[in-house]
Each structure stands twice: as structure tokens, then as C-alpha cells.
């Protein structure tokens, strides 16, 4: 089985977010990058499936050279090789276009990625890739088993779960608990440096230009209203918070 796992290089969840160049660019100074946590689960499941069924796992990242540290960590976790499309991932369509272009050159049985990245959180890349390749896409997938050429999945839906089956090939957006989160072991780390990491140039160009970023307004202090002054609470909800 050939599996392609698409990963994002995202700021650590504790990173301090700020912008530069007139709020048009994310300030990367001092920011620690990690592999998108949902992508991490996708990769872990891919490695488990490889252990069960044999095959290969290729990691794909659309990003600049700074992503390579995270890519090598994916190789340490158990991917066999990696491809980096050397460009800034400006928007979802552009990223999907790159993934579809790479995927169309090989016959992948599964294209796995996180349900969404945790920086821009658009959550549409898997759907776009499926559409571009003309194969089904599902998300968010929280359980995945492969039986013959058929994928048996559990998908989270509003208020519940859905068990679904589909034939391969497939594009899936993954989330926990699809696999146990993996820590790279020493052997993996030491073998990562010898695994191939191919850098290719992008196709097409981004469709959007960021005009301005803004952080959410800081949260105000909590106001405590005694139970016997419910009228005051209603007044505040109506006139200050304007939610009633």
C-alpha cells in the first residue's frame, strides 16, 4: 500500500502570535514550529497501516526550507521518504493544487492529512484534493481500518458518529483517536538523516493576497452579578454585550 501523508509546518500552540510589515505578515522571530497535531495523527496511522499491511509512507509538505526540521521528524517517526514543494503555502486552493499535482504522478492508495491545519484552520484542503483528483474525500475521520481494497472508517458528525466504507483510493482528513500519537525513537531519529527528502518547485500560483491580519480583542474581566440582581444581568446582556 502506498500512502501519502500531507503535513503542515505550524507554530507551536504556545507561540506568541504577532505580525510585521503593516500586519500583513506573521512574525516568525523566536517562534518554535511543530508538525500540525492533526497531521501527526494522520502520519501515526499511516505508519501503523504500513506495519500491518506493508508498503510505503511518503510525507509531503508545501512549504519553505524552514519546514525541513519538521519533515525530518516525520521521517524519524517512520515515513520512508519525503517531498517538499518549495513555496510559501499562501492559500488552501494553491496547497491543494500542489498536493494533487504530486499525487497524480504516483498511484497512492491513501492520501492522509489532518482535518485542518492549526494556523489557518481552513479545513478544506482534503476536499479540494479529492475533487482535483476525482476521488472521494472524507473528514474528519477518527477511525480507519483497511480490509482488502476497502477502507472502513468512523467519521465524526454533528452530535454523533457515522460508520462508512469506501473503496481506495481515498483522501482523508484525520483527527484523534485515529492512532496513538508517536514519539520518534532513537533508531528512527538516526535513520532519518539518510532517508530521501526531495525538493520540487510549485505549479501555478496563489490566488489570494493577505491584506491585513488582526488579533482578537483581549477578553474583558469577568463581571460577577449576585443572583438577587438578575435585572442588572439582563440589562448588561442587552445593553453592554448586546446579545439579547
Amino acid at each position: 500500500m502506498k500512502i501519502l501523508v500531507c503535513i503542515t509546518n505550524v507554530p507551536d500552540t504556545t507561540a506568541k502570535i504577532s505580525f510585521i510589515d503593516g500586519d500583513t505578515k506573521f512574525n516568525k522571530t523566536g517562534v518554535q514550529y511543530i508538525c500540525g497535531p492533526y497531521d501527526d495523527y494522520a502520519l501515526s496511522r499511516a505508519v501503523e497501516l504500513k506495519e500491518q499491511h506493508g508498503g510505503t509512507v511518503t510525507v509531503l509538505n508545501v512549504g519553505e526550507a524552514e519546514s525541513e526540521q519538521v519533515i525530518r521528524k516525520c521521517l524519524a517517526i517512520g515515513a520512508d521518504d519525503a517531498i517538499r514543494v518549495n513555496t510559501e503555502p499562501t492559500d488552501s486552493y494553491f496547497v491543494a493544487e500542489q498536493i494533487a499535482h504530486i499525487a497524480s504522478q504516483e498511484n497512492y492508495d491513501l492520501i492522509l492529512m489532518g482535518r485542518e491545519s492549526i494556523d489557518f484552520n481552513s479545513g478544506v484542503v482534503h476536499g479540494l484534493v479529492g475533487e482535483m483528483l476525482g476521488i472521494p474525500s472524507l473528514s474528519p475521520v477518527m477511525k480507519l481500518e483497511i480490509d482488502g481494497g476497502v477502507a472502513k472508517m468512523t467519521r465524526e458528525i454533528e452530535g454523533g458518529k457515522e460508520d462508512v466504507e469506501a473503496s481506495l483510493p481515498l483522501v482523508l482528513g484525520c483527527q484523534e483517536p485515529i492512532a496513538e500519537w508517536k514519539i520518534p525513537n532513537m533508531r528512527g531519529i538516526m535513520s532519518a538523516r539518510t532517508k530521501p527528502l526531495k525538493v520540487v518547485e510549485p505549479v501555478g500560483s496563489g490566488l489570494t493576497i493577505t491584506e491585513k491580519y488582526a488579533l482578537p480583542a483581549p477578553k474583558g474581566a469577568v463581571k460577577m452579578i449576585p443572583a438577587e440582581e438578575a435585572e442588572k444581568l439582563i440589562d448588561l446582556l442587552k445593553n453592554e454585550a448586546k446579545v439579547l
Binding site: 514519539i183 520518534p184 532513537m186 532519518a192
Partner: protein, 600 residues
Amino acid sequence: MVLTDSKSSIKGGEFLIKDIDASQIFIPEEFNEEQQMIAQTCVDFLRTEVHPKLDAIDYAKDTSLMVELLDKAGELGLLGTAIPEEYGGFGMNFNTSMLVTEACGGGHSFSVALSAHTGIGTLPILYYGTEEQKAKYLPKLATGEWKAAYCLTEPDSGSDANSGKTKAVLSEDGKHYIINGQKMWITNGGFADLFIVFAKIDNDKSLTAFIVEKSFGGITMNEEERKMGIKGSSTRQVFFNDCKVPVENQLYTREGGFKIAVNILNIGRIKLAAAVVGASKGVISTAVNYANERKQFGTSISSFGAIKHKIGDMIAKVFASESACYRAGQNIDDAIDTLLASGMESGQAKLKGVEQFAIECAMLKVHGSEVLDYVVDEGVQIYGGMGFSAEAPMDRAYRDSRINRIFEGTNEINRLLSVGTIVKRAMKGELNLMPAAMAVGKEILSIPDFGVVEEDGLFIPEKKAIKNMKKAILMIAGASLQKFMMKFEEEQEIIMNLADMLIETYVAESALLRVEKLIILRGEEACALEKDAALVYLHSAIDKLNSAGKVAITSFAEGDELRVMLMGLKRFTKIEPINLKDARRRLADAAIQKNGYIFI
């Protein structure tokens, strides 16, 4: 500016008489991506597997959880970092194994079990075993299939390790040694499959080491010890009753055991220093997080200067201790490389390399363990009333820290060792101490310079201060040695003072050199906080050196000599004052904003 790569032959203890260039030291910012990934694996392992189970580990009814965790660490390869690849390990260099130890240092009882297994449990075989012994045991220890313990201490033989009473007698058929005796404070005792046991053969004066498998029989144990801290680490008294050990399991030479014990402890000491740096960083982060969350007088307590002082001081101390650890670690690696290049066998080269820096190993153990004790104490204080509650994390941190000043040689023994080894090397002519001490003796009788600094460059006044700190040590060591001669070693109080002066000098110099190298690599603007940390440390180190120096001088000098030496000490501890409050505040503010320890 380009750094010259001059792995020049710095010898252990030579820092006292040589000026060291920043390009000669290794700084932790230089660890490569692979090494950082290895450290991250350790941190992730602690975060996901150990930290959620700290209570379960400490209050476990049996050792199964600890064994399970060690097995998992073994699966990740964390038990085999120092073991060569041909024996199933990963053959990493000394400083990488230091980094692994630091990254695993915040795991409380688990860290102790891990260190005992990978350090004192495994290393005697790695460094002193025959080819057969290594091939038989190391692969099992590297994966964690077998767990190891180290049996040296006895009820009446602690710091005086060579006075042990455990006996080994050759069986009539000459095939076995029969071991009888009692060992105490045996870490991992409850679940170990293999014991490194020190015993005296017949009426030998000195110890011999043996590799004892639990399956050999004749091994019984007392219940788990009830301890102040590291409650989850298995600590047992182990009894050997006619334990039959095949003669081929004698480790190294007859009566070579004490040498093994001493050399393995050298490694244990510097590794302990790395582990406590890791633990200290964790405690600082926990304390800063609490200070940010805890509101009093309508604001986070982290906004108060009294708390910022503590945070700034904790950070400066840990930064400095860490700088010294990896500086010495690299010196050891370089020494090992030189010995390997000269054709020495790998295990021997590693031992000799570490032995050469025995002084630094002892100093770092003392410093690191005392910094952690300072950090946990202030951690409790920042937590206030909650710090005294067993529900909050500082309770465990405080109790678990204390053992570090006791095991791997008490800090008193290590202070004696650091000074004693310097004196011994000077007497042997290996360390050219006497001319340097005589030059200082002359200098204090001459007209002092008035602090005019004409050179250009980084940290010129600070480097002069370090140089002067060394002169203060040479002055007092030289005079007291001259006074007491052969009876010097009986003057333990003065030796303790001298050890404190040595430690403060080495650590302050390490922090300063680290920042200097960092500035050369990254520019001054990017290293402002590191500079604050190094300067906060340096100024407090000078104060400590001054105070220890005074106590030492007044312990033996009188009249004119006393006056001249006190004047000399004053001259050697002079430095232009800076606003340390602001420097500490800058460190604290950065930590408060980051909600944790600020450097790597």
C-alpha cells in the same frame, strides 16, 4: 568575526591558571537538529508517559509501573544512548548523552531509576568488561530487557567506600566466588536482574567488582526503604548469602573495584549535574506559571518585584550551571577523541577522558544540586501556602531534590575531591599551580592597578574580574598550603571555602564565555537576556567568593599576612557595580511573558 575552532588541549583543572577563549568552549545552542530531536523525544516521553503518573509512581504498591516505564524508555532507545552500536546501543558521544540526561532530568523518581540503570548499573560493564561480558550483558541492558543496580554502599561503608565488609571467597572447585555481605541504599534493587557488586576477595585490602545475575541465587532483600523523597524509586537493602558467582563474572582486575567505583562516579557526577539542570528548568516553569496565575491584591503575584527577584535569580543560576555542564562535557569528548586518536581502546579512552576532568565533574555535581535545591526552595516560596500542600507539585520537587546533595558522593566529599585533586596534580607537576600562586603572592605586595581598562573587545572588565577571582583562589590556596603543608587536608573548613571559590569561578566563567560565543554567533542584540543572566551570576559569584575567601583567610592568617591577604582579596573582588535589580527584572519579565524558563 569568525570563531576559530581551536580544540586545544585544555586539561582538567587548568581553567584555574589559563585564560580560556570563547571559541574553545561548547555551548548548548550548538547542539544540532538531530541532537535536539533526541532531547525532544525524552521531553515528550516524560510529558506523555511519566508526568501524568507521578503520584502512581510514588505511591505504587509494587515496582511494576516503574518496570513498565523503563521498558517503554527502552523501546524508544533511551537506555542505550551511551552503548556502542555493536552492543545494541546508539554510540552517542559524551555531550549528547549529557543532553539526554538533562532532558530526562525532570522525571522525579523515574529519572533516578533511569540514571541508575544507564549510569552506575551499565557503565562498569561497558568500560571495564571483557569482550565476552560486554557481548553477553550490554545488549540486554541497552534495550531494558534486563534492569541493573549498583551495590557499593554498606551500613558501615558510605563515603569511605573502600571499607566495605562484603566478602568473596573462591569455591573449592575454583569455578565460583561465594559472596556474602549486606549492601544498602540500592537503587532499582527491587526489580533489578543484574547487580554490580563490590566485595573483598579473601583478606584483600581493596574491593573487587562482580557482575551478579539475580538468577545466581542467594540474594534476599529487605522491604522498600521509606524515604523523604524519590519515593517511587526502588531502594532496598540487598543481602548476599552464599551467592555463587562464576569466576568469569569478576569485573576487571582483582582489587580493581575501587578504581571502577571512583571512575564510574566521576561520570555519575557530571551526569547528575546535567539531570538537575533539566529538573531545575522544569521547576522554574512550574513556578512562573503559578506566579502568573495566582492573583493577590488584584494582580498576578508575578508582577511583584520580590517574586521577579526570585525568578531572575533562579534563571541566572540555571543558565550558568548549564553553561558549565556542556563546557566540561565537550572538554571530555575532546579528551576522549585525543586518546582514541593515540590508539587507546574505546572504553579506556572514555574513562581516561572523564578522569582528566574529575575536578570539573565534582564541582558541577555540587553546583547543580545546590542550584536545584535553591530553585525548589524558591519554588515552594512562590507557591506560598500552596507550596506547603502535598496537593501542589512543589511538594514533590522539594523532597525529591534533597537526595542530589547526598548521592554520587556527598557535596562535602565532592568539595574535598575538587580541591584535593587540584593539589595532588600540582604536587605531581601535572598542573603548573605553584608559579601562578607565587606570581599572585608577588602581585599583592606591589602597587595595585586602578582598574584602568585599555583593551577593546567583549566583556573586558568581566574577564578581568574572572582572572582576579582565579588570583584570589591561588593566593589563598598557596598561602594555606604553605602554612599547613602535609596537614593541609586536615583543614577541611578551608578546603570547603576554596571549593566554593573554585566552583563559583568556573561556573561564572562558563556563563560569560557562553554569552561571548553566542554574541559572536548571533550579535549582541539577540543575546541581551543571556548577557543579563551571565552578569547577574558573575556579580553574585564575586560576592560569594569574597565571603568564602574572607572566612578562609581569617582561618589561618594573622597580623601583617592577614592584612595583606584581606587587601589582596578586596583588590581581586573589585568590579564596577551594575543595576542587578533591572537585570533580574528583565529575565523575570521575559519568563513571565513566556510563562516558563526562557532559554533553550
